[in-house]
Symmetry: C2
């Protein structure tokens, strides 16, 4: 798995070709993981789920209670709203980290319908008031509990398959995936769900969790973080993300894959492959590939096992066309089609006749990036043999490469390096790594970035990523992780905490 | 209203600026009309609605019976799947006629929930079988009754507001709009609904109406009509259109609108305006305007009266965000922004974070065209005064103009004219109009196109548009209508029926 936020928190995706090789169901170890903080250590035997609020009869359930209720089990594709974000970061740094195109996975989830649990509690309805079902996780994050909410109608409609899940791919949940219980909302972004679920609260208001309101939004492209705050745009209810949009990506050819003349000359076929997904239960009705920048489109073959998947069939004959799982697609083309091809792109269509936009629309959180996925095709010569090499837009996390990645270090970028404005005057203090490493706790926390030493102690509470993300690295050199994750604004802010330089015999590699 | 298919059948749209001037609710006379054939003449007192099929108790209801049932009444935007089709026809002729961008209107509809009527009949459910609700109109069309079907779950879910409507804008339905009763499916294309409703049939199969299966589909761009038939693509269930996709258009500046220097020099503001709509009950969350071919986008102000509309509020407090009505949008820009502007384009986003594609994707039926709507801005000089003139992509029907319309008569186009292959040999028969006009009935039907006379009698039954469309013009000159509606293939076929030339003193204007 490719780690995207350093040692902690754990956020990771599988390399895309490996992900697709697994087929329709993603094995749990390769399922993408999104954590905002430390993973709670909970126990099946002691964990309780509270159901309270505007209900007749509050509930206090054990995991065994929950597991004894009628359940459903079915595959569904989960996606992080930040999928393909690195492409946006290459246009301009967003405030989010570098997901590649594999923040998507398909697993079998088992759980009780939330509708059923709420009926046990008995919801107090009121025709003059809305009802929201609010969720609270037990994880402790910098901005309070992780939580979210849904309007009651979405929850009570069995067609939406909204469950409290305690089984994944036939096993109990792993800690990273929310053990022992989490919400599952088919067709929604992963971030709208809550892992390590502690409470379900029926309310006449939406969730007041910071993560419900402040995270998982798409702002119009003209807003950077400062302007959004200044003009109070963050909380515009129109900008919240619930459901997935249409998206697709190319897995084969893979990044850096080569086809040499000896193969091209045989003029066999090449099979372009990838995935597509929709939100809202819509069916993927068409996937097309272009080899000429979108002038013409070729119809790909879709591989859609979902309707025939045994668990889906077992859920009951139902013409209601709701599709929760990804579509794999492939198109076999004569190899010679690639010889003069400069770009392979893909687009998918849903059953509402909506499709993907051709170009990206940058947004400050880097969410929901779903423009056409484009792989560049370059000629090269190796040992006097002609070949083609394929270049994806980016590679996930800190992995280098990709045609959207700027090749030379941009002059204006506030990359913290030896030449930054806090270049030491000749009387700057210097420290050895050994000395730095002693400043390694919450009351005294130093870090090294690009051979400069910073005292981050006073910033621990204010750190948007939480104090743990820094503490876990206290007293160490975090150059690589720091530069890859943080915005220019954050990099500039770091200067406030400068205390000295790293002694020259211990300089880190840039 | 702009007529789009000649005298008959009656298909028409309002000029777009006039449509938007009406505001949120479109007065019935300006509501677009789509008819496939003659309008049935029905009576409130004698019309019956039959409900039969897999039901416990078939129903035979009078209009008074229906009007006595509990009803709901609310505004909704209806759209023809062919909206903006002329833009596609300008790329390549489709098999459909030239709708402009005003095949969309918003009216207040009143009716009984179909769910309620079906409950009166009592649906015979079967967990091993699907259930479809099929609709049959009483209109007599070349290919049988107009009809369609929906999966039962969509019908039974009150959130979808599916009704049998008998009131429009506070009055009984007009004949063109389906008097006395029709189906209304909010968020769906107009063509999925059935006017002059005669029967509701509960079935385990979809409707077998020709118009359910053969019409209202989007095929992949590589298929023309012949190839679609040859490869049996018409009936691919994935290509059926149910719900609307995201669309928007610019109403101001209007086509051929001018702004002269005297106004530009005052440097006041100009307000760009238009509409947007979504399908599926999604909310329009954002509309943006570009003045630079999509490099940058400006946020427009959205005018969305729907949630506060009295009838919508009366439907009951409900946080479920379903939006059935169009959004008007506007953006005030300094006039000087337009001086060097070459193109104004608009795009809208829905609450699923989906948006419109930038470019059109041609399809043989010319359906669901929803690429960015683009207005060109041209400089010109009149009486030595500089000005700007705005050009829309097309004008509806036979109205000339639009930047997508080819300026010169294309050489290859099989426009039937005096130079076509059936140019008379010198011994060709000639007829006067007076003589032609005697051949004016079903057993003897002549028409004149471009000064040539054709005996259409043997073609009446096979005419895709129905025999009435020809019969209503029997014995007359139909040059203009014929050339504007028919494909190149149809124009070529006409030659088969040539019988002679129009005598020269009665030549029609080309």
């Amino acid at each position: 798995m490719v780690r995207l936020t350093g040692k902690h928190p754990f956020n990771a995706e599988a390399p895309l070709p490996l992900l697709l090789e697994q087929g329709f169901i993603t094995p749990t170890p390769l399922h993408y993981v999104r954590n905002h903080g430390p993973v709670p250590k909970l126990s099946w035997e002691t964990h309780r789920l509270i159901v309270e609020g505007l209900v007749e009869k509050p509930l206090d359930l054990s995991m065994d209670d929950i597991a004894s209720l009628p359940y459903i089990e079915f595959p569904l594709t989960m996606v992080c709203a930040g999928n393909r974000r690195k492409e946006q970061n290459m246009i301009k740094q967003t405030i989010g980290f570098n997901w590649g195109p594999a923040a998507v996975s398909n697993a079998i989830w088992k759980g009780v319908r939330l509708r059923h649990v709420l009926e046990l509690a008995g919801i107090k309805l009121d025709p003059t008031q809305p009802r929201y079902i609010c969720f609270e996780g037990v994880d402790k994050l910098p901005n309070g509990f992780y939580g979210s909410s849904l309007p009651i109608e979405w929850v009570m409609n069995d067609a939406n398959d909204i469950i409290l899940a305690y089984g994944m791919n036939g096993e109990k949940l792993t800690p990273d995936h929310g053990f022992p219980i989490r919400t599952i909302f088919p067709g929604y972004i992963g971030g709208r769900t809550t892992k390590w679920l502690g409470k379900v609260v029926v309310s006449d208001k939406e969730s007041n969790s910071y993560y419900h309101f402040r995270d998982n939004r798409v702002l119009p492209p003209e807003f950077d973080a400062e302007r959004a705050t200044k003009e109070n745009i963050w909380y515009n209810p129109d900008y919240i993300i619930y459901k997935l949009n249409i998206n697709s990506a190319i897995a084969a050819p893979a990044h850096d894959e080569k086809i040499m003349m000896s193969k091209l000359a045989r003029n066999t076929e090449y099979t372009v492959k990838g995935y597509a997904y929709m939100g809202n239960g819509s069916k993927c009705i068409r996937v097309e590939i272009s080899l000429d920048y979108g002038k013409t489109w070729l119809l790909a073959k879709m591989i859609q096992p979902e309707p025939e998947f045994p668990l889906v069939k077992a859920r009951g004959m139902n013409p209601l066309p709701r599709f929760w799982c990804w579509t794999f697609w492939e198109l076999s083309i004569p190899l010679h089609s690639l010889i003069r091809c400069e770009e392979i792109s893909v687009r998918a269509w849903d059953s509402n006749q909506n499709t993907q936009p051709r170009d990206p629309t940058w947004n400050v959180m880097g969410m929901m990036n779903n423009c056409h996925y484009k792989v560049k095709v370059h000629p090269f010569v190796e040992n006097e043999e002609f070949g083609l090499i394929f270049e994806h837009p980016t590679q996930p996390g800190t992995i280098p490469g990709g045609w959207m990645v700027k090749k030379e270090a941009p002059k204006k970028e506030a990359k913290v390096d030896e030449k930054s404005k806090t270049s030491a005057p000749s009387n700057a203090k210097t420290f050895t790594m050994s000395q730095v490493s002693k400043h390694n706790n919450e009351k005294d926390c130093w870090i090294v970035v690009a051979n400069k030493v910073y005292d981050a102690t006073s910033f621990l509470k204010a750190h948007p990523g939480g104090k743990t993300a820094i503490l876990i690295n206290a007293g160490t050199d975090v150059t690589e992780e720091f530069n890859d994750i943080h915005s220019e604004k954050a990099k500039a802010k770091l200067n406030e905490f400068y205390v000295g330089d790293l002694a020259s015999d211990k300089k880190s590699k840039l």
